[in-house]
């Protein structure tokens, strides 16, 4: 089920919410948890119930390993079995065709592709459970109840696209007595956050998607303006899409008095690539740091080893996002940028803040081209356009004022025709860029939500415009990971 669907907004969420607090009010706390778990399974299976047994099986497997780890403490072979089991599942569903294609390229095997449909959310619930097993091994998490464990994994706000959670930060919240009763401040904040997320997704991300899709998927060539409009549209679309989804996840979770970890902190305000990864998909960065980078040696090893670990971690981040070489390149680009940043830091030469921000943003924007492009040809098309190698066409209206530019090969006409853009395109890109650079992050905004008239007007306007604008076919970009 999608957060941005009528079924979720008008039926699922209110119904689950009412029954959950009704059961808690009747002191049926276990029944309330079971209700929430079953509702979460329904939420997952609503779209395609075929993978419900997979999720259930994965939960039972990890619960079994977790229970065994609690019994036989510090048992490394058990942990390894658990991790291999989870990674095996992920590899089978997500990477088999990628490996087979690679093998066919390198050898004469000519194996047939399996064409396995990726179960939605598999990367997220697999990582959540790996984290649980490692935490249990380290004795920083323990769960004896199957219902609690199933609720931890399936709790619907985070199930499909994160944030990636830790057992210890979520499950105690379900047991706090004060969280079993209605909290009107949380409801107000949750509704505000949900409406903001819906607005980001429906109004902003889906509007930008048109130009990004036209540029990446349909246009055969892109001029300078078109290529920049394409890449910036996608850069903004991805941010508003994913952070909008996260806001809706956090908002709907807050209605149940459960605070999920924040996943974004205005990433496009970052002053370095390292800073960017502290602000973008924070729970994934945290996972990779805690469960990959630090176990590899972290910062405690020699400098070349650190640099290698960084590169390896970002290679894995790239692969986590998708089984394709463009994702590998995207991950490696970020890894290289972090290495470069680390080496540069040692020179003690600091750039002015504005220049640091400018370089970081443009690097991130250019790297997203590989993330979005289906093939290297598509990526090259956008990047060569951004470098001006396919010429520059400016709007006809500027032909008098800037006629001197004709000598430099600049043409005048329909400047965004290959992406079906018009005057709205640059205007919207500028407005949304300014919003992402200058406006408060969602958590700051929600923390400031007070029950006053202005916030009421904002809430009503945002939620009404989003609901009326809702499109039934709009999926989230991060669902495919």
């Amino acid at each position: 089920m999608l957060f941005n669907s009528y079924a979720f907004i008008f039926c699922f969420l209110p119904f689950v919410f009412i029954v959950y607090f009704f059961l808690n009010r009747k002191k049926l706390t276990l029944a309330a948890k079971i209700w929430l778990t079953l509702s979460s399974f329904f939420f997952y299976g609503y779209w395609n119930p075929i993978y419900l047994p997979l999720v259930a099986g994965s939960i039972l497997f990890n619960y079994g390993i977790g229970s065994a780890l609690l019994k036989f403490r510090k048992n490394s072979p058990l942990l390894i079995i658990g991790i291999i089991g989870n990674l095996g599942l992920l590899i089978y569903f997500k990477y088999m065709d990628f490996f087979i294609t690679g093998l066919n390229t390198l050898t004469d095997f000519n194996l047939s592709l399996l064409h396995i449909v990726l179960p939605i959310g598999i990367s997220f619930f697999t990582f959540t459970q790996i984290a649980y097993l490692v935490d249990t091994y380290k004795e920083s998490a323990q769960e004896y109840s199957l219902i609690n464990y199933a609720l931890f994994v399936t709790f619907f706000p985070h199930l499909l696209a994160g944030p990636i959670i830790h057992h210890k930060e979520i499950m105690p919240q379900f047991d706090y007595r004060r969280n079993k009763v209605l909290n009107y401040r949380h409801i107000a904040q949750g509704l505000s956050l949900f409406s903001l997320g819906l607005f980001k997704k429906v109004i902003i991300a889906d509007t930008l998607a048109t130009w990004a899709n036209n540029g990446f998927d349909y246009a055969t060539t892109l001029t300078f303006c078109e290529a920049w409009a394409t890449s910036l549209s996608f850069t903004l679309q991805l941010y508003f899409d994913f952070s909008g989804y996260t806001d809706m996840a956090l908002g709907s979770s807050l209605l149940f008095n459960i605070k999920l970890p924040f996943n974004f902190n205005s990433p496009y305000k970052a002053l370095s690539v390292q800073d960017f990864w502290r602000r973008w998909h924070i729970t994934l960065s945290r996972f990779m740091r805690d469960y990959v980078y630090i176990p590899l040696g972290g910062n405690r090893v020699s400098e070349p080893h650190i640099l290698f670990n960084l590169l390896l971690t970002f290679l894995l981040i790239g692969l986590w996002h998708g089984a394709g070489w463009t994702f590998v390149v995207w991950g490696l680009l970020h890894g290289c940028a972090l290495i470069l940043g680390r080496v540069w830091k040692k020179t003690h030469v600091n750039f002015p803040r504005l220049l640091s921000w400018f370089l970081t943003f443009n690097f991130v924007n250019a790297a997203w081209v590989f993330f979005r492009a289906r093939t290297f040809t598509d990526a090259t098309k956008v990047l060569t356009g951004m470098c001006g190698m396919n010429g520059m066409v400016l709007p006809e209206k500027l032909s008098h004022t800037l006629s001197g530019l004709r000598e430099w090969g600049v043409e005048f006409g329909l400047s965004l025709k290959n992406i079906e853009g018009d005057i709205k395109t640059p205007l919207m890109i500028i407005v949304f860029l300014l919003l992402s650079f200058l406006y408060k992050n969602s958590d700051e905004w929600v923390a400031g939500v007070r029950p006053n008239f202005l916030n009421l007007v904002i809430f009503c306007t945002v939620i009404l415009s989003s609901i009326l604008y809702l499109s039934p076919y709009s999926e989230y970009l991060y669902f495919r990971f």
Binding site: Y184, L191, D217, Y218, P451, F459, C460, L468
Partner: protein
């Protein structure tokens, strides 16, 4: 949180939800009442069109009514049996009785953006009435062989699609339609704006009988075929080249993620079933505008594969196939088209001429 705060937040939430649901309810009532394209009510205008056509008159006006429902009204209320039908998308709308040199009773049921399932649903209407047409012309677009078409037009005739599936496969088929419920239109901004526009104009359902095709509206002939509005046809005079350029993008939109022929079994079983019932089936491929076709064939060879597949199937099954997506095969030039997908009068005329059906 103190008691005062709790009361404040509670009041804020209550007012907020009250405003939101009141506005949504008002929008829903407005859309239900105005209902400018007849989603919720069987449009009286549809009966007007049907009865006028049955009387041999041409009807002009907008074509944005519920076309699926219109086909149902036609089939259920036709005064006599219809022996020959055309089913297809808007690309089949230009096939007229006079081009076919036939004495059989004829109706063109083509609908905007129709899918293969739409075509089957219309035949299902005849099945429900108890008599299949003797000759069925299937106007096939390449996109009908693409999985997951946006099945948005034929909601009101879904039961008839199911009916024909049951006839073909002998059991009830579970159909998973990934499309929106009509009730979602109640709070849809696009539909609200269309209804506001309709109220402003107060002539959204303006349908009238005309003696001439030279009106700036869509004109439906008594045989069900359609003449596009004069405005649409005139776009040609602005030059077909830019239209074709635009068309490439339009075609690419249709062709996105289109790499394999789908719906093959459904199509074949459908045709074989019709022939078993004694109906003659004719396949009709409406050409694509030449410049757009050249561009699209470079990128999507699937178009040619589909045409080859249809030729192969037709020859194996001994079914007549007329037309081609390739405009060169009938010597069509850009000026024979008024946009990248739709040909002028001459296109269907030339393809069908010489065939006694």
């Amino acid at each position: 949180m103190g008691r005062d705060d709790r009361i404040k937040y509670k009041g804020w939430i209550t007012y907020g939800l009250l405003v939101v649901f009141t506005v949504l309810a008002m929008v829903a009532v407005f859309n239900y009442k105005v209902d400018s394209i007849g989603i919720f009510h069987t449009d009286k205008g549809l009966f007007f069109i049907a009865s006028s056509l049955f009387k041999g008159k041409m009807v002009a006006g907008p074509i944005n009514y519920n076309e699926g429902e219109f086909q149902r009204v036609i089939v259920e209320n036709s005064p006599g049996p219809i022996d020959m039908v055309v089913v297809g998308s808007s690309r089949g709308m230009g096939v007229r009785k006079r081009f076919l040199r036939t004495e059989k009773s004829f109706f063109n049921h083509s609908m905007t953006a129709a899918t293969l399932e739409d075509l089957m649903a219309i035949i299902g209407l005849y099945l429900a009435k108890g008599r299949l047409p003797r000759t069925i012309i299937l106007c096939l677009d390449p996109w009908m062989f693409k999985e997951k078409n946006n099945l948005t037009k034929w909601q009101s005739i879904v039961p008839y699609y199911k009916k024909i599936l049951v006839e073909i496969y002998g059991k009830d088929i579970e159909i998973n339609l990934n499309r929106r419920s009509k009730y979602q239109e109640l709070i849809n901004l696009e539909y609200t704006l269309a209804n506001i526009k309709a109220v402003k104009k107060k002539k959204s359902k303006k349908l009238y009988i005309t003696e001439t095709m030279e009106v700036n509206d869509f004109v439906r002939e008594p045989d069900g075929s359609v003449h596009f509005s004069r405005g649409t046809r005139r776009e040609k005079s602005e030059g077909t080249q830019p239209l074709a350029q635009l068309g490439v993008r339009g075609l690419e939109h249709y062709s996105k993620d289109f790499y394999a022929i789908m719906n093959q079994r459904l199509f074949e079983d459908f045709v074989i079933y019709l022939r078993k019932q004694g109906s003659e089936v004719i396949l009709y491929l409406h050409p694509i505008e030449p410049i757009a076709y050249e561009r699209i064939k470079e990128k999507y060879s699937i178009m040619m594969e589909i045409e080859n597949y249809l030729h192969h199937f037709a020859s194996n099954q001994n079914v007549l196939l007329l037309g081609s997506y390739d405009p060169k095969k009938y010597n069509f030039v850009s000026s024979d088209f008024f946009d990248y997908l739709h040909g002028d009068e001459i296109v269907a005329k030339r393809i069908f001429e010489g065939h006694q059906l």
